[in-house]
C-alpha cells in the first residue's frame, strides 16, 4: 500500500484507537472494574468480536453515512475523520459528553457544505432521530430485562457463589455480543468516510469468499479499535467500574445486554431484511453512541426502581451534545478542508 494512503487513513485509525480506548469500557467496565472478569480476558474477547462485527456486519450503518455524503476523495475523508477526532478530543478534554457518531456526521455535513454537495435532509433527520431514540430504546429494553433477571434469580434460588460464577460467564458472553454490535455499528464512524475512496481492491479467498475492499478497510479500522482496547481501555474500565456508576455485576449485565441489543438493532442488515420481508417498518441502520445507549439503560432501570440518584443535569448536557457536537465538527472540517485544499494543494473532493 502507498505510504500516502496510509497517512490519509491515519485519522480514521486514530478515531478507531479512541473508540477502542473509550467504548470498550461501556461493555466490560463494570466487569473488569469490580474484578469479575480479568482485563486480558475482556480485551481478548472484545478485540476478537469487534473485528468480527466490523468485518461481517459493518456495512449497514456505513451505507447510511454514505447516503448522507459520499466523501469521494481520500484527502477529504482524511480531514472529515480528523475533524471528528479533534472534536471528540477537545470536547472530552473539556469534560463534555461527546459521541464519535455525532462528530463524524457533523464532519460529513461539513464536507458536503465545503464541496457544494447537497446534504440529504431526510437521511440527516433520520440519523438525528436515531440519536435520541438510541438511549430511549436502551432504557425500554433494560427495564423488562432487569425485571426478568430479578425474577429468575429470586425464583431459581441460586446460591450466591454460583450466581457469581453464572454472572461472570454471562458478563463475558454479553461483552462478546456487545463488542460484536459495537464493531458492526461503530466501524462506520471509524472507516465510514473512507468507503467511497477506499484504496483497497476486492479479492477472493479459496474461490468462494469475496473479501471486499470495504471489509479490508473495516478490518484495518477494527484492528485500530483492538489496539485502543489493549493499550488504553484498562484505565477507563477501572473508572467506569469503580467511580462513576456503582452497578452490581447483575445490573451491569442487564445494561451491557440492553446496550448491545440497541447497537445491534441499528446495525443489523439481517434484521432489516427480515422486517422488510414481513412488511414491517424497518429500523434505520445508523451509527449510534455506545455511551449514550449505556446511560439510557442505566437511567431506565433507575427510573423504574425509583432511584433518586439520576443526575438530570448530565442528561441535559447529553442532549446539548447532540446539537453542539455535529456543529463544532462541521466547522472544524470546513476549516481543515480549506487548509488542505489551499495550502497543501490536495484535492479534497471530486
Amino acid at each position: 500500500m502507498d505510504i500516502t494512503l496510509l497517512i490519509f487513513l491515519l485519522s480514521g485509525l486514530a478515531l478507531g484507537f479512541a473508540l477502542g480506548a473509550n467504548d470498550a469500557a461501556n461493555i466490560f467496565g463494570t466487569a473488569v472494574g469490580t474484578g469479575m472478569v480479568r482485563f486480558y480476558t475482556a480485551a481478548i474477547v472484545a478485540s476478537i468480536f469487534v473485528i468480527l462485527g466490523a468485518v461481517i456486519s459493518g456495512a449497514g450503518a456505513s451505507h447510511t453515512l454514505g447516503k448522507l455524503g459520499a466523501v469521494n476523495a481520500l484527502p477529504g475523508a482524511f480531514m472529515a475523520a480528523l475533524a471528528a477526532a479533534i472534536t471528540v478530543f477537545v470536547m472530552t478534554k473539556r469534560g463534555l459528553p461527546v459521541s464519535t457518531s455525532q462528530a463524524v456526521v457533523g464532519a460529513i455535513v461539513g464536507w458536503n457544505i465545503f464541496s457544494g454537495k447537497p446534504t440529504d435532509s431526510a437521511t440527516l433527520t433520520k440519523i438525528m432521530l436515531t440519536w435520541v431514540a438510541c438511549p430511549v430504546i436502551a432504557g425500554f429494553i433494560a427495564v423488562p430485562l432487569y425485571l426478568m433477571v430479578r425474577r429468575i434469580i429470586r425464583k431459581a434460588k441460586i446460591h450466591l457463589i454460583r450466581l457469581d460464577a453464572y454472572t461472570r460467564f454471562a458478563l463475558i458472553a454479553a461483552g462478546a455480543f456487545g463488542a460484536y454490535s459495537l464493531g458492526a455499528n461503530n466501524i462506520a464512524n471509524v472507516m465510514g468516510v473512507f468507503v467511497s475512496s477506499s484504496p483497497f481492491t476486492d479479492f477472493v479467498i479459496a474461490d468462494k469468499f469475496v473479501f471486499t475492499s470495504v471489509q479490508q478497510l473495516f478490518l484495518l479500522g477494527a484492528l485500530a479499535i483492538a489496539v485502543g482496547i489493549f493499550t488504553y481501555s484498562r484505565g477507563v474500565m477501572m473508572t467506569v467500574g469503580q467511580d462513576i456508576v456503582a452497578l452490581s455485576p447483575v445490573s451491569a449485565w442487564v445494561v451491557v445486554t440492553a446496550h448491545s441489543l440497541v447497537l445491534f438493532l441499528f446495525a443489523s442488515q439481517g434484521l432489516e431484511q427480515f422486517l422488510k420481508g414481513h412488511g414491517l417498518p424497518t429500523i434505520p441502520l445508523v451509527p449510534v453512541s455506545s455511551s449514550q445507549a449505556v446511560i439510557g439503560a442505566i437511567v431506565g432501570i433507575g427510573i423504574f426502581t425509583g432511584s433518586t440518584n439520576i443526575r438530570w443535569r448530565v442528561l441535559g448536557s447529553i442532549s446539548f451534545g447532540w446539537v453542539l457536537t455535529p456543529i463544532i465538527s462541521a466547522i472544524v472540517c470546513i476549516l481543515g478542508l480549506y487548509f488542505l485544499q489551499n495550502i497543501f494543494n490536495q484535492q479534497v473532493y471530486f
Binding site: 469490580t34 474484578g35 469479575m36 480479568r38 474477547v45 450466591l160 457463589i161 454460583r162 457469581d164 460467564f169
Partner: protein, 222 residues
C-alpha cells in the same frame, strides 16, 4: 485462549466446591450445638465426668474444623476475587457465625474448669435456657443458609431468631430472680448467675448476627 480454557471449567467447579464448603462450615455450627446440648444434659445429670470431657473434646475438634473451613473460604473468596460486592460482608458474617462455636466451646470449658454446683431445683431452668439459645442459633443458621440460596426466606428465620432471643431473655431473668431470691450465699448466687449469662450470650450473639444479616439481605435485594 489459554486464559479462557483454564478459566471457564474451573469457574463452575470452584463455585460448587465453595458452596459446599460454606454449607459444611454452617453444618459445624449446628453440630457444635448438638454436642453442647448433649454435654450439658450429661453435666446436669452426672456432674463433672468423663463423658462430659469427651463432649468437650469433640466440640474442640468441631471448632478447629470450622476454623479451617472459614479460613479456606476466606482465602478462596479473596484469591479468586469472588462475589466482589459482598465479599467483605460475607467474610464478616462468617466470622460472626464462627464466634458462636467459640461461645459453645468456651461455655463447656467454663463448666469443665469451674465445675459449678447447680442445685437441682434450677436444672430445668438452665436446660430450658440452653435449649432456647440453641434453637435461636439454629434459626440463625437457617437464616444464613437462606441468605446464600433463598433471599426471600431470610426474614422468616430472622423473626424466629428474635422470638427465641426474647424467650431466652425471659428465662434468664426468671431463673436469676429465683437464684437471687434463694438463701444461697452471694458468691454462689453470683457464680450461678455467671453461667446463666454465658448461656444466654449465645442467643444475644445470634440476634446481633441476625441484625447484620437483615441489612445484608436488603443490600442483596437491591
Amino acid at each position: 485462549m489459554n486464559i479462557s480454557n483454564r478459566r471457564f471449567p474451573s469457574l463452575f467447579g470452584r463455585a460448587k466446591k465453595l458452596e459446599s464448603q460454606i454449607d459444611q462450615f454452617l453444618d459445624k455450627v449446628t453440630e457444635a450445638g448438638l454436642i453442647y446440648n448433649s454435654a450439658l444434659l450429661v453435666y446436669f445429670d452426672q456432674g463433672p465426668c468423663d463423658d462430659f470431657e469427651k463432649y468437650l473434646q469433640r466440640i474442640l475438634t468441631v471448632e478447629e474444623s470450622a476454623d479451617r473451613y472459614r479460613r479456606d473460604i476466606e482465602t478462596k473468596l479473596y484469591e479468586h476475587t469472588l462475589i466482589p460486592e459482598f465479599r467483605g460482608d460475607v467474610l464478616e458474617l462468617l466470622e460472626h457465625v464462627d464466634a458462636l462455636i467459640n461461645i459453645y466451646e468456651a461455655n463447656l470449658f467454663r463448666f469443665s474448669i469451674q465445675t459449678p454446683k447447680i442445685p437441682k431445683v434450677y436444672h430445668k431452668g438452665y436446660l430450658q435456657l440452653s435449649d432456647t439459645a440453641i434453637l435461636c442459633v439454629d434459626s440463625l443458621i437457617l437464616a444464613v443458609r437462606s441468605f446464600f440460596r433463598d433471599i426471600e426466606a431470610v426474614r422468616d428465620h430472622v423473626t424466629k431468631v428474635m422470638f427465641y432471643e426474647s424467650e431466652a431473655d425471659q428465662i434468664s431473668t426468671r431463673v436469676q430472680r429465683e437464684i437471687f431470691a434463694s438463701t444461697l450465699g452471694l458468691a454462689r448466687k453470683r457464680h450461678l448467675a455467671y453461667f446463666i449469662e454465658h448461656i444466654d450470650e449465645l442467643a444475644n450473639k445470634a440476634e446481633d448476627i441476625s441484625d447484620i444479616l437483615s441489612i445484608l439481605t436488603i443490600k442483596r435485594k437491591i
